[in-house]
Symmetry: none
Subunit: 230 residues, 2 copies
DNA sequence: CTCAGTTTTAAATTATTGTTAATTTTGTTA
DNA sequence: TAACAAAATTAACAATAATTTAAAACTGAG
């Protein structure tokens, strides 16, 4: 995975700090997003699914620790690396940070070299594990998660977000049945509450657009992505 | 995975440090092994395949960095988490550590709470990955609980939920007789009340689909899954 | 603010699965 | 082996779950 493909989200209420981080990380080639408090940070994370999130501990609305807990409680971010930003000497806070599920922390004032080293180190780990290729391909179906686009025997189709994510989830483990609860958790997130019929409707749209043959209903359990040949 | 099942290897030449680590980690329930230098550490790792290894940077025979590189070069340890132990202030060393493929580091003097927090955090990540495929297999029968599907001499059959769960239960302990009450509890749940004939009917359907030879009735007691050969 | 596209809900319909009840068969035991 | 209880069998029925449609609610871009 190239640096350009790596998304980092910076969450801090001090614009100066955000800028320092953005500057240094952009310099090395990462894509940087930002948000000014925990709540906004969480929605930003939902939107971009960044690879790494840097959270300031002290923030309005939802502090770093709480944000981290919220993220860790969410299936969608189980592989996301979380890093804390803390003022030097606040010793208590970084114990709490690790308890909340953080992967590392960095102290203010920020030293660019240390920052970049840490980030690189943390991301290195990601690379090995990142066994989810951005493109899934079967006979006459290509699923490209960079552009939220699929190609069905030559024809290019853009899928809306939820539809795409549902398809991507199912297709990531062909033949595995995903229970409705799991689908809910992975595609909609644990906090959102929507009816079960919503999943059905999205499946229906996918069957329409992608092809009925790919989707198998397992009544009472969930759905699975079926390989055409088998 | 329970804490008791998690193996941690501590490699350091200072017995005091080893003891501090061992004490704190054992306290939380982990299994702790130790070795006094890099070479011994490596053989110990080969013997126990620990989930996490804590390496001191400064060690005789093979220092931490070199040991880490040696471990990382070995397929068997590609999923092992490696953590470094370093004296505070040796800034250079932890850059080198990450380069060698470390996952994290901790500075001396060791603060127990920080140590345990870090270890927990790193292991959290491991837990998600450790998913064993839930497949039971006999001669000409494969029961795959990921896909709610069975294969009987080559032929794929999709089973409805209750039927599958009943089959899975019985097949999970071949030759063990499951009492009707037990089956009821496990497949239907304790709140639901249905007649005893319901089980019979499901068994019948399974005999039809999976093959009569697998199911043995124990009159007055329940049913068991019988291995064809035995 | 408005519009187009997306997402969710609701309700009628259809399909599948699970349960029951009536009947036959089997196995056990006196 | 007759008599009884338990289990198998069958088909009809009930319950549950999914599909389909259409329309409402929401969202973000301009």
């Amino acid at each position: 995975m190239k640096n350009q493909e790596i998304k980092i989200l910076v969450v801090d209420d001090e614009p100066d700090i955000v800028e320092i981080l953005r500057y240094n990380l952009t310099q090395v080639g990462y894509q940087v997003f930002s948000a000014s408090d925990g709540l906004l940070g969480f929605s930003e994370a939902e939107k971009n699914t960044p690879h790494l999130i840097i959270l300031d501990v002290m923030m309005p609305n939802l502090d770093g620790i709480a944000t981290c807990e919220k993220l860790r409680a969410d299936e969608r971010f189980k592989d996301t690396i979380i890093m804390f930003l803390t003022a030097r000497g606040e010793d208590y806070s970084y114990v709490a940070a690790f308890d909340a599920g953080a992967d590392d922390y960095i102290t203010k004032p920020i030293k660019p070299k240390v920052l970049v080293s840490k980030v690189k180190g943390l991301l290195r780990r990601l690379k090995g594990k990142q066994n989810s290729p951005n493109i899934i391909q079967f006979e006459d179906l290509v699923i490209d998660s960079d552009s939220y686009k699929i190609i069905v025997h030559g024809e290019e189709i853009n899928l809306p977000r939820k539809e795409f994510e549902l398809l991507f989830l199912l297709a990531s483990k062909p033949d595995k049945v995903f229970k409705r609860a799991k689908i809910m958790e992975r595609v909609w997130g644990s906090e959102v509450v929507v009816g079960d019929r919503t999943i059905d409707v999205h499946i229906r749209k996918l069957r329409e657009k992608v092809g009925n043959k790919y989707f198998k209903t397992v009544k009472g359990v969930g759905y699975k992505f079926k390989l055409p040949k088998s």
